[in-house]
């Protein structure tokens, strides 16, 4: 009886660990993972209210952040959207959204880099760090 129990517990633990490590993109290198962890904390404070814990958005009010195509095509505009906000129509996952997004002008480059690393690797399909330099470069060229 005891042996069976012990074996069972071990079995469950192995399955549990396997599940944990397969949850997310596990090819992230350590720096990207660190950026994403910091980004998740900032995401909760600044973004989650509207965009939801899983980036699912809210109805047709606030767009989801899970449109992989949008994220990769507009990668160089993402920092601008966070820093300066957004006005006018955008199409996300084939749906049109038109609600003003407030500017988060107090966030600095590294905060934006953390948030974008989290968003693009967890909701999008990116596998690399959104660096502070990339954010600085993007912000210079905001449309």
């Amino acid at each position: 009886m005891k042996l069976v129990c012990t074996l069972l517990i071990f079995g469950l633990m192995i399955i549990g660990f396997a599940q944990l490590s397969s949850c997310h993109n596990n090819n992230l290198n350590i720096q990207t993972a660190q950026y994403a962890v910091n980004g998740q904390k900032l995401y909760k404070i600044h973004c989650q209210n509207c965009h939801g814990a899983k980036g699912e958005g809210l109805g047709k009010l606030y767009p989801p952040l899970t449109d992989k195509n949008f994220l990769s095509k507009n990668r160089n505009q993402l920092a601008c959207i966070i820093k300066n906000g957004l006005k006018g129509e955008i199409v996300i996952n084939g749906e049109t959204f038109n609600q003003n997004m407030p500017a988060l002008s107090t966030l600095n480059d590294v905060d934006i880099a953390y948030i974008l690393t989290y968003v693009t690797t967890h909701f999008g399909d990116a596998d690399s760090t959104f660096s502070q330099d990339e954010v600085a470069q993007s912000l210079k060229d905001c449309k």
Binding site: M1, Q48, N49, L58, G59, L61, Y62
Partner: protein, 211 residues
């Protein structure tokens, strides 16, 4: 050993089975004890605070009043459409309740806008439909500053115009559960998922009172 497990399971099942029946939601607010004379005798009566009569303009520019909520329990809250802070989370959570009880004519929802300048009926209408509200079970209303801020006190919800906070209005994100007699039967933090779950189960408990 198996016997022991069975015994524990039976006892906990019995507990679980009994719990819902014994539960009744309290009436919230400061009660007043008054003496009255009935048939020549002095009796003591307890008066619980209740939501007073009201009249507000809804998202279809129709004047609605407390009469629209007769024989219904409803959940009230205070928000504004361009609120950048707690409202999206609060409305996301209230939407869960709306979706759960959609089609149940005994349950309604009432969101008061505290931005009496910007949130005209057409703004509320667009907000409601974008949120996913497509019937009259959930009303979005606007009114004069005095009326809206006045009634928020009755719901025990703090509201204030304040240019120093994001969005220009400060308020608390409570979801307030009201019964047929317009008594407050529950107050839930609309920004907390856990409390929203409690609201969902408390609505069931309150509905059972009117079966």
């Amino acid at each position: 050993m198996i016997k022991n497990i069975l015994a524990v399971a039976t006892v906990s099942l019995a507990f679980l089975a009994c719990q819902p029946n014994s539960k009744k939601l309290p009436i919230i607010g400061d009660r007043e004890v008054v003496e009255k004379v009935v048939d020549g005798k002095t009796v003591i009566d307890t008066i619980y605070p209740a939501i007073p009569n009201f009249e507000f303009l809804n998202q279809d520019s129709v004047l609605i009043s407390d009469k629209n909520f007769e024989n219904k329990i409803y959940v009230a809250n205070f928000f504004f459409t361009h609120c950048p802070s707690i409202c999206p989370t609060m409305q996301r959570n209230l939407l869960k309740a709306y979706e759960k009880f959609k089609g149940n004519s005994g349950v309604a929802f009432l969101s008061h806008s505290i931005d009496f300048k910007h949130d005209q009926p057409h703004v509320l209408k667009s907000y409601a439909s974008k949120l996913g509200v497509d019937n009259d079970q959930w009303q979005f209303v606007t009114g004069s500053k005095a009326d809206i801020y006045g009634i928020s006190d009755k719901y025990l919800v703090f509201t204030k115009e304040d240019e120093n906070v994001a969005g220009g209005y400060d308020h608390s994100g409570y979801l307030v559960l009201i019964d047929h007699e317009k008594h407050i039967r529950g107050v839930y933090d609309g920004t907390s998922e856990e409390e929203t779950e409690k609201l969902l189960s408390d609505i069931d408990i309150l509905l059972a009172e009117y079966k």
